[in-house]
């Protein structure tokens, strides 16, 4: 049976494509962007998750653990993922839900049931968005969902890094109603340093899709100190202008709210804790660069 590890299903998504959507977040990503706002989605496997802000420090989880994978320290519950057998005793023991699994293995059928739930809200433009992690990293699952949606007349889109083999990209382009692709950095070296991969494949996939006429939206996350410089935006503008098609580009402002996730994961957060969104003025200036190159800026 084809399954995927789903780390969240957000209904009433209104910023991930057209209309009202249900966004399904799949675990596993070939990139490792230093600013990832869903760091729990990077690795494909299901793990324990600890939400410190709702923990009441009862330590029931630690008492219930038979492998010693959980310990208490000054930052709350520390999880030794290597020692953890994912038996779930601590999840049952926790009275608040602060200790939980970070994802759930779902079959295609189960995912489709979730998608169906909001059918009355989709109208003609709303529907489902596969996100992640990387939706193309679970191709069998994602493609099945997209095909089933097409059969049912549900608009289905994907959010992707497009870091995938061209055949995979082609298969997705066949069945997705729109592909929402990121260009994070135009310079290959900077891209490699910030995300762990080269962007040549990504850009060639975008060019390929543009030539095919696939419905595309390009997104640029504005990450302070990483992607928000004029040079980068200018490079992206030039690239998009060179595609020879009107492809809109959306600038996505930095989202500081993922900070807590890094705290929960006890991973390094690349930013000053007080780093906030980029001021609208600057975003507008960057948008103007796009417009200067004749690119539709959202």
């Amino acid at each position: 049976m084809i399954t995927a590890n789903v780390f969240d299903i957000k209904r009433f998504s209104i910023n991930d494509g057209d209309g009202i959507r249900t966004t399904i977040f799949l675990k596993g990503c070939p990139l490792a962007c230093k600013w990832c706002q869903n760091p729990e989605g990077l690795i494909p496997e299901i793990r324990l998750w600890y939400a410190k802000n709702i923990c009441v420090a009862c330590k029931s989880c630690i008492a219930s653990c038979e492998t010693g994978a959980l310990k208490w320290d000054e930052r709350g519950v520390a999880i030794d993922h290597d020692a953890c057998t994912r038996c779930g005793r601590c999840v049952v023991a926790c009275p608040t839900g602060a200790i939980r699994f970070d994802a759930r293995e779902m079959s295609i059928e189960e995912a489709l049931q979730e998608i169906e739930k909001d059918r009355p809200f989709y109208g003609t433009d709303g529907g489902v968005t596969l996100s992640g992690g990387e939706s193309m990293a679970s191709p069998a699952f994602s493609l099945s969902i997209l095909r089933a949606c097409r059969e049912r007349g549900t608009n289905a889109q994907i959010e992707t890094s497009l870091y995938a083999r061209p055949e995979t990209v082609d298969a997705f382009a066949e069945v997705a109603d729109r592909i929402i692709a990121d260009i994070k950095l135009i310079d290959p070296a900077r891209h490699f340093l910030a995300t762990g991969v080269d962007n040549t494949l990504i850009l060639s996939n975008i060019r390929h899709l543009a030539e095919k006429g696939t419905k595309l939206l390009i997104r640029v996350p504005l990450i302070p100190g990483f992607t928000d410089d004029e040079e980068n935006i200018r490079g992206i503008a030039k690239f998009v202008a060179s595609l020879g098609r009107e492809i809109p580009v959306e600038l996505l402002n930095f989202n500081p709210m993922c900070r807590e996730k890094y705290e929960s994961l006890r991973q390094r957060y690349e930013f000053d804790p007080d780093q906030r969104e980029i001021e609208q003025e600057r975003v507008d200036a960057l948008k103007r660069i796009l417009s200067d190159y004749g690119v539709i800026a959202l």
């Binding site: 009433f12 209104i14 991930d16 009202i20 802000n53 709702i54 009862c58 608040t96 739930k117 809200f121």
Partner: protein, 784 residues
């Protein structure tokens, strides 16, 4: 897509009238009470309906009147704006207790003059002692009402009947003089009912007199005023209305207002609703616009003058009642849009002018209700959404697709059902021919559950209150819990109905309403007072409170105690009796580790529906004293707070005395974790056909959604789904800073506030405090 109508400016006149209105101090008034007392003292032996008509006429003739600078629409029942009227016939005991503390009470204070306190204690109160509705009911069933009151709260015991939508169209068609002719003709035809018609005629004479007095006053003022022409026009309008039916839009608006003022003077009741004003005012509007005597601007100004007037009559409540219904809502409920009797969209230019007026004024009254259905235009839904985004919580939405079938299920004709309106906050009614008695009682199912789990003993007081059903310890199966709850409901149900019958009879005996009977069909024809069953439709509404808590409690019991067996029932029983003292982890488990209503979980939502349906079906076994059916409502307005104070700890992790779910259909605060679409799906499972008395769903949104056209269009899509899901009612509160500050203090209540970011979502309450603060700081209505 905004048209000129949607962008008309706010006039200076309306702006300054609004300012003046709110700068004036609010007082409690005994003026009418003194007049009424005089009449009862002098004519106490007359039949009650004549006595009431005389008292009304006397008040209309004698009460001091005023015309405020700049006003175009005139009339009020006191010279002070927003005065609280002390109304002796229905009940004075709370006034006696609280008159001195009116200015200092925390909720809805009113000033009171020393001489009025003296008049109250010396002239008014002693005369009425033992004679008011409240005193007489206390004598007849006070003990029984107290015995069942924590479960079944009987209402309408200390005020006259409101929550009525009079036949304003008929009032406009005939005017008081035309109605008087009709009453005289009927009197000649039905000599056996001569006294009834005598009352009608007296009250209509009073109405004409009242209008003439305003004409006289306006003319007097014109002699020395800079706005002489305006005052002479007011005088002309008022004179005309005292003699004939209105002919112009301006006259019609003024006539409407006189009607509601006089109804309030007769009954001092909560809510006489104008209903579908955009429909019955439209012919006047259309004609005047065509002839050129009216412009869009002048029409909007008149509507806004009327909107201000709706805020000038407030309802003085006891401090206890003010807690239940904060902000002295008086329930001038105006319904706009919807469909006509043929099922075609009834939207017209007035519909949009009413929305513009709401957008301009953002005042608590009128209670503006948008009727929506599958045929509603995109423009209408969009404009409604834009106005909602301004943060007044209005318009609220009523769904024709759900309401019309629900009403027809209660024997309402197709034509009347399609022409429905709303009274009070959310109660459904037909227009102009209905005494819906929509708040006969409130049945606290959650209290019944508390008793069911504890052998009928109240866990707050230790008193035996209900039936002996054993305790949770004894219930080996989930089915035992169900059976015990049913037994407790049965224990109170019929006793509640019997009390309601006594209350309704007392109203007919003590508070016949001749003026109201002139404008509620078929009283005039039948020769029967509205309180005695003269209306075409005679319903009584009883509220089932609160299905969300019942679903949460039973789903939690079933999951953790009976299915997963993670919680021991003896241990839980002890925790419930002791309000979870020393059992916080157990409480957290009950709260967090079992499914709850509002998350689109079919079997949990089905529990809410089962109990609602059973309750509605229980009601069908009874007929009210006016010969009509009982029907169920699912709303509390703000009574979820005081009603929660009567209920001990519950299995859903709720502590004793904590509020119940708000609204009536809403999930318990903070327990809906899947967003607004899941809430609407859950609510839709509590099927609308049983909520014919009205239902209430509150939803909260962040203002950012309404900031862009795209956001508004997504909101409109949500409305379309609401229509498709056949939910009766929804009201959207746009979250403001205060809400978010409260969320920071009590995050567990705001779990469902979702922050939407592309490719990412987080729950507000799982964010760190500094990030929460930022969102709060960003949330301001700077553009209002």
């Amino acid at each position: 897509m905004k048209t000129k109508l949607d962008q008309l400016p706010l006039s200076n006149r309306v702006q300054s009238l609004k300012q003046v209105m709110f700068s004036e101090e609010r007082f409690a008034s005994v003026e009418q009470a003194k007049i009424v007392t005089d009449v009862y003292r002098a004519h106490g032996d007359l039949p009650r309906n004549i006595l009431r008509a005389l008292a009304l006429k006397e008040a209309l003739a004698r009460i001091e009147i005023r015309i405020t600078e700049g006003e175009l629409i005139v009339g009020n029942r006191t010279t002070g704006v927003r005065s609280g009227v002390i109304f002796p016939e229905s009940g004075l005991s709370w006034v006696d207790r609280e008159i001195e503390t009116l200015p200092s009470r925390p909720q809805d204070p009113f000033g009171i003059r020393q001489e009025d306190i003296k008049a109250f204690h010396e002239e008014i109160f002693p005369f009425w002692k033992g004679k008011t509705l409240e005193d007489i009911l206390d004598e007849r069933i006070g003990g029984e009402m107290r015995a069942i009151g924590k479960v079944a709260k009987i209402n309408q015991t200390d005020h006259a009947q409101g929550h009525i939508c009079p036949n304003t169209a008929r009032w406009l068609k005939f005017g008081p003089s035309g109605l008087m002719e009709e009453a005289k003709a009927e009197q000649a035809r039905q000599p056996e009912n001569a006294a009834f018609y005598e009352g009608l005629i007296l009250s209509l004479e009073g109405a004409c007199l009242f209008m003439r007095r305003y004409a006289v006053l306006a003319r007097e003022m014109a002699a020395t005023s800079a706005r002489k022409e305006e005052l002479l026009e007011i005088a002309r309008v008022c004179d005309a209305l005292s003699q004939r039916a209105p002919e112009t839009f301006r006259e019609a608006v003024q006539a409407c207002w006189f009607l509601y003022v006089i109804l309030q003077m007769e009954s001092n009741a909560s809510s006489f609703s104008p209903g579908r004003m955009d429909q019955y005012l439209y012919p006047y509007y259309e004609r005047d616009l065509a002839s050129g005597v009216l412009t869009h601007e002048s029409a909007l100004e008149l509507i806004e003058c009327l909107f201000l007037k709706f805020n000038q009559i407030v309802y003085l409540r006891s401090s206890g009642s003010a807690k239940y219904f904060a902000g002295f809502p008086i329930g001038f409920n105006v319904a706009i849009g919807g469909q006509d009797e043929a099922g075609i969209s009834a939207e017209n230019e007035l519909t949009f002018l009413f929305l513009r007026a709401q957008e301009h004024l953002l005042l608590p009254q009128p209670n503006l209700s948008a009727r929506v259905f599958s045929g509603s235009s995109e423009r209408f839904l969009t404009r409604c959404s834009e106005v909602v985004g301004k943060g007044s919580g209005m318009p609220q939405f009523f769904n024709d697709e759900a309401v019309i079938p629900a009403l027809k299920g209660k024997g309402i004709s197709d034509e009347d059902a399609r022409n429905y309106a709303i009274v009070g906050c959310v109660e459904l009614t037909t227009m102009g021919n209905n005494l819906g008695w929509s708040d006969a009682a409130m049945f606290n199912l959650v209290k019944a559950l508390e008793l069911a789990l504890n052998d009928g003993v109240c866990t707050l007081t230790g008193k035996q209150m209900g039936a002996h059903t054993g305790t949770l310890k004894d219930f080996a199966n989930y089915e035992d819990v169900i059976a015990a709850l049913n037994t407790q409901i049965d224990f109170f149900f019929e006793r509640m109905i019997r009390c309601c019958e006594v209350v309704e009879r007392a109203h007919a005996e003590l508070l016949p309403s001749p003026f109201l009977s002139c404008v509620v069909d078929d009283c005039m024809k039948a020769g029967i007072d509205v309180t005695a069953g003269g209306a075409h439709y005679n319903l009584s509404g009883i509220q089932a409170i609160q299905c969300a808590n019942i679903a949460d409690s039973l789903a939690t019991l079933k999951t953790l105690v009976y299915d997963e067996k993670l919680v021991d029932r003896a241990q839980l029983h002890a925790a419930l009796v002791n309000n979870y003292e020393n059992a916080e982890l157990l409480r957290l488990r009950m709260l967090n580790k079992a499914p709850k209503y509002g998350n689109d979980i079919e079997w949990v939502d089905a529990i809410a529906f089962d109990w609602a349906r059973d309750f509605a079906e229980r009601l069908t076994r009874f007929t009210n004293v006016r010969g009509g059916p009982y029907q169920m409502g699912l709303y509390t307005v703000s009574a979820h707070v005081p009603m929660g104070q009567n209920v001990g700890a519950t299995p859903d992790g709720r502590l004793a005395k904590e509020p119940l779910a708000d609204g009536g259909m809403s999930p318990v605060y903070g327990r809906d974790a899947k967003g607004p679409t899941a809430v609407l799906k859950s609510v839709s499972r509590v099927k609308s056909e049983y909520g014919s008395n009205g239902t209430l769903l509150n939803m909260k949104f962040l203002p950012s959604l309404f900031k862009t056209e795209l956001g508004v269009s997504k909101f409109v899509r949500l409305l379309r789904a609401f229509i498709e899901l056949k939910i009766i009612h929804v009201q959207f509160n746009v979250v403001n800073r205060d809400d978010l500050l409260a969320a920071q203090k009590q995050p567990e209540l705001y779990k469902s506030l979702t922050i939407r970011v592309a490719g990412y979502t987080a729950y507000f309450t799982e964010l760190a405090p500094d990030l929460q603060r930022e969102i709060i700081e960003r949330t301001e209505f700077a553009d209002i």
